[in-house]
């Protein structure tokens, strides 16, 4: 069957009114639940999995993919509106998205985010449809040494996440890495820094850290300033993006899509690194980098596109090789298996209708997101007009529930409180939390892969230079250090000249 026939087949399977409704229901549920940080696609899918047993395979997948997108996207919505990242990948959206909301530009921010997601989604679906098999094998080519070097390169770019001094951002990133070592060490099984409490055995809960550092710290700061009557958002200047917004966003969206599609294929690291990488790239390429951190639309458009593209291409290893690249993936794979379908190279041949139905459902899910979220922008923005003093208790409650729901562990709440305290202090000391989050997530992977590379090479350090991909990554890292320090130097000169 030609590809076009296949696509037609897929769409004919997926675009039934019934499946459409399932998708809408899923997207709606996902959006609702995704507003709570920590309650992301994984938990929602796990909870709703039994419902899908009764549905036919394609319908259940369509519903689950609707949930996935819904939850994914509403993470960005809360990041923009309330500085509350619903998901690890939405942390980057907070950096510029929330300042936009505070300037009364939540409408354009949310609308651009939805458009960026949709565009990236369309492109990614095309990639999946046409290039899955060759791309899947790319993921296999990355060994531990390659991953380690990739992460070094990513961490080097952490300095470009904020406008603070290089020393401060590096220290914050390093602190994140140190926090990441808390918990069970993969290579030896030792439990580190748990201070005798088994609750820390699996590491610092990411959600607790993100919520504490971003959402809670933010609330504390603003409530404290309330008596000075600083409004949450200035007069809302329209719901739609302006021409200038669209013009500025378009290249960012294109670049973000490219980055996301590429990184998403790599199991484990993919989507998270994509959004950070896109942000850094936009910041570096912008003519006036000082706009970033204060509400630059590119800082929302690029990462959002990267995010969604990566989330989709993340499915490639799962669908073609049967390797689940992440928790949500693993669940979806479980759902498939329970329906009697085993993902893997034979999937495309044996269950063509299913594979193409899934691909089509991804696109429909994306479309559904646009359909659902663009009108919602109006509602979200109106929600922001609610006085802050009514809004922030809701933020606190939602965050508490979200943090608790991840593992039903009260310890996570105390941890979030500690991070909130730390986040507040860091804010007052001009230390941006974004590099810390990056370090927290990437640090453990860096250590794990470095030690594994050395284990496999039996202690031979040169493996980092002899593996071609690793070498390429390290060279890139050196180049980036050069580029960043030069532009940071130029920034500083400019600032000293014009205080």
């Amino acid at each position: 069957m030609s590809v076009v026939d296949n696509i037609a087949l897929g769409f004919s399977v997926a675009v039934t009114p019934q499946n459409f409704l399932y998708c809408l229901a899923g997207a709606f549920l996902g959006t609702l639940v995704g507003v709570f940080p920590g309650l992301g696609p994984v938990t929602t899918i796990a909870m709703l999995l039994p419902f899908t047993f009764k549905l036919p395979a394609v319908a259940s997948l369509i519903m689950l993919s609707g949930i996935y997108y819904g939850a994914h996207h509403s993470g960005s919505t809360t990041a923009v509106m309330l500085n509350m990242p619903g998901e690890p990948t939405s942390v980057v959206i907070c950096i510029d998205g929330h300042p936009m909301a505070r300037q009364g530009r939540a409408g354009p921010a949310l609308a651009i985010a939805a458009l960026a997601s949709f565009f990236a989604g369309c492109v990614a679906v095309v990639i999946i449809a046409f290039f899955s098999p060759p791309l899947a094998s790319v993921g296999l080519m990355f060994g531990p040494a390659d991953y380690a070097s990739l992460i070094v390169m990513a961490l080097v770019t952490a300095s470009a996440l904020s406008s603070e001094s290089l020393i401060t951002t590096t220290a914050m990133a390093a602190l994140g890495v140190l926090l990441g070592t808390v918990g069970t060490d993969v290579n030896s099984g030792t439990i580190r820094f748990d201070f005798g409490r088994s609750a820390l055995d699996d590491g610092v809960s990411f959600v607790a850290a993100a919520v504490g550092l971003f959402a809670f710290a933010d609330v504390i700061t603003h409530v404290g300033a309330l008596h000075e009557r600083v409004p949450l958002s200035a007069k809302i200047t329209g719901l739609l993006p302006t021409r200038a917004d669209l013009k500025a966003s378009t290249p960012a969206i294109l670049r973000g899509t490219a980055i996301g599609s590429a990184f998403g294929i790599l199991p484990g690291t993919g989507p998270l690194i994509s959004s950070f990488a896109s942000y850094v790239m936009e910041r570096q390429l912008a003519k006036d980098p000082s706009r970033f951190g204060k509400g630059a639309i590119e800082g929302v458009a690029g990462p959002e596109a990267a995010n969604n593209a990566a989330a989709l291409t993340h499915f490639i290893p799962m669908l073609t090789l049967g390797i689940p690249a992440g928790a949500a993936n693993a669940l979806l794979m479980g759902a498939l298996i329970i329906q009697g379908i085993a993902p893997g190279p034979l999937l495309i041949e044996q269950h063509a209708d299913l594979f193409w139905g899934v691909v089509a459902s991804m696109w429909i899910g994306n479309l559904m997101l646009l359909v659902l979220n663009l009108p919602l922008v109006g509602i979200w923005v109106r929600l922001l007009a609610i006085p802050y003093r009514v809004l922030y208790p809701a933020v606190l409650v939602f965050c508490c529930i979200g943090v608790y729901s991840v593992s039903n562990a009260t310890f996570d709440l105390y941890l979030a409180a500690v991070f909130a305290f730390a986040g507040f202090i860091f804010k007052q000391l001009d230390c941006s939390p974004a590099p810390l989050i990056l370090g927290l997530v990437l640090g453990p992977m860096l250590e794990e892969n470095t030690r594994r590379a050395l284990l496999l090479s039996r202690g031979d350090f040169t493996v980092f230079l002899t593996e071609p991909i690793s070498l390429a990554m390290l060279i890139l890292a050196v180049v980036l250090v050069f580029v960043f320090s030069r532009s940071a130097f130029r920034d500083r000169q400019a600032r000293l000249a014009n205080p």
Partner: protein
């Protein structure tokens, strides 16, 4: 030597990093270090902590040497650091209260605690508003999580 306002922030953060890094080094060294080619569990944390301590020391040192007029960035003239003790303590207390209450006292009381502590400023001036906020949030949470999603939580004291 007078400390400029911008320096105070940098000095504090530098010392903070130095302290954290120091602790990290002390605790990290308690685990097996191994060698560079066969790292033990203590190697990486120790190295990273050392880096943090170093960066903290450098940051603190440079902040002391900054002369008037050479303060970097927009910090100069921003005023003293706002510590916001009361909101800080109340909101944190709310989060902790949620943790203490949710398992045995149930979702309703946990949310109530967060709202009451979070709205500490208004308890006497606008009590009805606080009550309304609390009730709405409780209703949404109970409907969505306990009835809708079937989370294994109690709404009321078990």
């Amino acid at each position: 030597m007078r400390l400029r306002i911008g320096d105070a922030r940098r000095l504090t953060s530098g010392l903070l990093f130095l302290t954290i890094g120091g602790f990290g080094m002390i605790y990290g060294a308690r685990y097996r270090m191994g060698s560079a080619t066969h790292m033990g569990p203590g190697y990486f944390p120790f190295a990273v902590a050392a880096l943090i301590a170093l960066l903290g020391a450098v940051s603190a040192a440079t902040s002391l040497r900054t002369e008037i007029g050479q303060v970097e960035g927009p910090e100069g003239g921003r005023g003293p650091i706002q510590w916001h003790i009361v909101p800080l303590l109340c909101i944190l207390a709310g989060v902790v209260a949620f943790g203490l209450l949710i398992e045995h006292a149930g979702l309703v009381l946990a949310i109530a605690a967060v709202v009451i502590l979070g709205c500490y400023q208004r308890l006497l001036t606008r009590p009805l508003e606080v009550l309304a906020i609390g009730l709405v949030l409780i209703a949404i949470a109970v409907a969505l999580f306990i009835h809708g999603l079937g989370m294994p939580w109690h709404a009321f004291p078990a």
